[in-house]
Symmetry: C2
Subunit: 400 residues, 2 copies
């Protein structure tokens, strides 16, 4: 199998990770976040529903992959690490009341002389459970444990040119899926029918580049549920006069470019007509302001002042760092575009700017994913940045 | 919104959960597994990428939902619990370095007088992190903490008639998606094209019943990767002479019916021709043997003896309890069909029997999801139980 990046890039990532380990005094880093495992080794499989781990030793050139027996072949073909560094636990450790994979892993760490070192764990990452942490601590009583939450995620924030290329491909996929989704919406069509069209386009990809599963399924809250952003689709039919929010992400080589739009079925009501231009002006103001040296907190301030002119305010964050990921989230959990966030923008950082406004019974979402350039910001997708209107009188299905 | 079950059914589930709590001496149960949150309250949203919780108090008739501010509306419309039992934390707790949602939750528990009780946590469930556990323990020093892993999952094992009905609908969706997937396979078609067809069918569902996102994406290892069950699709084209394994699940009201088949592109090789009948005989023997009173371990024994006649053995488990779930797994993590598992089959338990055989460079998977009846076992899907052959000479795309 061909790795998505050349080995020099993986080694650079590993070096940067080790620099972070060194600065925090961590000698052994236990990586359980599937995105971080992929970032450093290339490992890519839907196996994160069982315990697995990448171990980085500060003084070893190669990571260790430790996981389930039937996934070991996958580790051999999808990573750059040597086969002898792929270690498998037997199947009786899987979802068992008697055996836990972390006992196996602790034994390995002891056998290779790492049992009394400074060990960093990703304490607040998905798939690293409370029990996993407790078993490792109990089984390695001579180790000193440290919290390495977000250590690798912070290394991930500034993308390489190859990563940006993959995001550009993901953006093409996002654009085409949004088009398919929007054009499928008519009164009487079910939400699940549109979700199916979107998923089809996301996974099929383009003729040159196959799509992948995004870390979040397409979200399409509709009608009075546009105030509830994380409901998934139902089989209710769309209704004339309702709005539909579509939030999706194109994904390529596990890199995501999210994109949200709001669609009015028939002519929008007065409130939508008032709110949409405010959101759009806010987005443009933020994109015009973004450049290296500015902080995420300053982006939020610019947004806040813009919408305040029209009497609006927003409680939730406006956006977040985005890129490589696995379910359940495409966000990187590092920088958020919100009040006081001190993250300083650098070239090739990538953000999903989603300054949604939600009210009691409705809401509007229009978003852009952008890259920080040498002098400003550049959007990944090209889909029209506007409130979309589906007029059912247009029998050709074109947006009137 | 209409709940998928009537309130009497939710109350019965809550009562059974409280009986389990009582027998273990747990007074406060903190539920973070999205499937368990849904099972007891109805809550259904893609919000499990932030910390959230359902709190069951042994002496209160209603659970508490605690989650992110922007998800609170979703909790109000998708659950049977009163609006005043829906408690939201502000957005600055989300993916923050300064604030953690579990601090907020611990404060609530203290405020309502639960800070010095016996508190059960789902220590080894997805989305309950090491740090979440540590913060709760530190913030509630007078509480006594207990491990409640799988407590609710065990209650979930025996399905109600309504749950079985939903699984029957999921089975129809699984059958139609398998048909779409298999019929899309031709030499030159890309893996992602077939994955797109399958996903389309899974999400669209039937004309009467809309489909939902399954907890695992369609898996379709191909060629020499049929030995690597958890690789996801790529954009490589299918090749004459290769095999493709399709593993998918239909999902309805979050209930899953998984289904796996192996497809040979062109005539199968000698090994496939030898192995397929062994797997099929094994499946039939297990299905014929399954009935109330038999243990999961005995099912494995029957399988082992059947395939041993032909000189085969299998390291991994043969199957597992299945039903309601969210990503990243549709398995219930309770019973496994493997050596020594003491689970006694009862009517309306449901299992995915997937006795895959993997070799160094290939493998075969044919599976059935079945329900234990009063006197035996009944398969949910009707898709032909055989090694499927796609002969590319049939230009109508029919299986020859």
């Amino acid at each position: 199998m061909v790795l998505p990046f050349d080995i020099v890039e993986y080694q650079k990532r590993l070096k940067q990770t080790k620099e972070q380990m060194e600065s925090r005094g961590i000698e052994v880093l236990l990586i359980t976040d599937p995105a971080n495992m992929n970032y450093l080794s290339g490992y890519d499989a839907w196996s994160f529903y069982v315990h697995q781990m990448l171990v980085i030793l500060i003084d070893e050139p190669q990571p260790l992959w430790i996981g389930r027996y039937q996934d070991a072949n996958g580790a051999k073909v999808t990573t750059w690490i040597y086969d002898e560094n792929v270690i498998a636990y037997p199947d009786y450790y899987v979802h068992s009341k008697e055996h836990h994979p972390m006992e196996f892993i602790a034994d390995i760490l002891k056998q290779i002389g790492q049992g009394c070192r400074n060990i960093g764990m990703e304490m607040d990452h998905y798939y690293f459970t409370g029990r996993a942490s407790e078993i490792l601590k109990k089984s390695l009583p001579d180790a000193h444990f440290m919290d390495a939450t977000l250590l690798v995620n912070e290394v991930r924030m500034v993308k390489s040119d190859q990563e940006i290329e993959y995001m550009k491909t993901a953006a093409k996929i996002a654009d085409s899926a949004m088009k398919m989704g929007v054009e499928s919406i008519f009164p009487g069509v079910r939400e699940c029918d549109t979700a199916a069209e979107i998923s089809y386009a996301l996974i099929k990809g383009t003729p040159e580049y196959g799509g992948e599963y995004p870390a979040i399924v397409p979200l399409l809250p509709t009608g009075d549920q546009t105030s509830i952003p994380h409901l998934t689709w139902s089989d209710r039919p769309f209704v004339e006069g309702h709005a539909v929010i579509i939030e999706l992400a194109g994904c390529y080589k596990r890199y995501h470019v999210p994109l949200a739009r709001t669609v009015s079925i028939g002519q929008p009501n007065e409130k939508m007509k008032q709110v949409a231009p405010v959101v759009l002006e806010g987005i443009q103001t933020v994109l015009n302001f973004a450049k290296p040296g500015v902080t995420c907190g300053e982006l939020e301030e610019v947004w806040r002042k813009t919408i305040k002119k029209y009497g609006y305010e927003k409680e939730a964050r406006l956006g977040y760092s985005v890129g490589l990921n696995y379910p359940p989230d495409w966000g990187e959990h590092t920088a958020s575009i919100r009040k006081g966030d001190p993250t300083i923008l650098k070239p090739n950082m990538t953000f999903h700017l989603i300054p949604a406004l939600w009210f009691d019974t409705d809401g509007i979402e229009i978003s852009e994913t952008f890259r920080v350039t040498e002098s400003g910001a550049e959007c990944f997708t090209t889909y029209p940045q506007e409130l979309l209107i589906r007029d059912h009188l247009d029998l050709n299905g074109r947006i009137s």
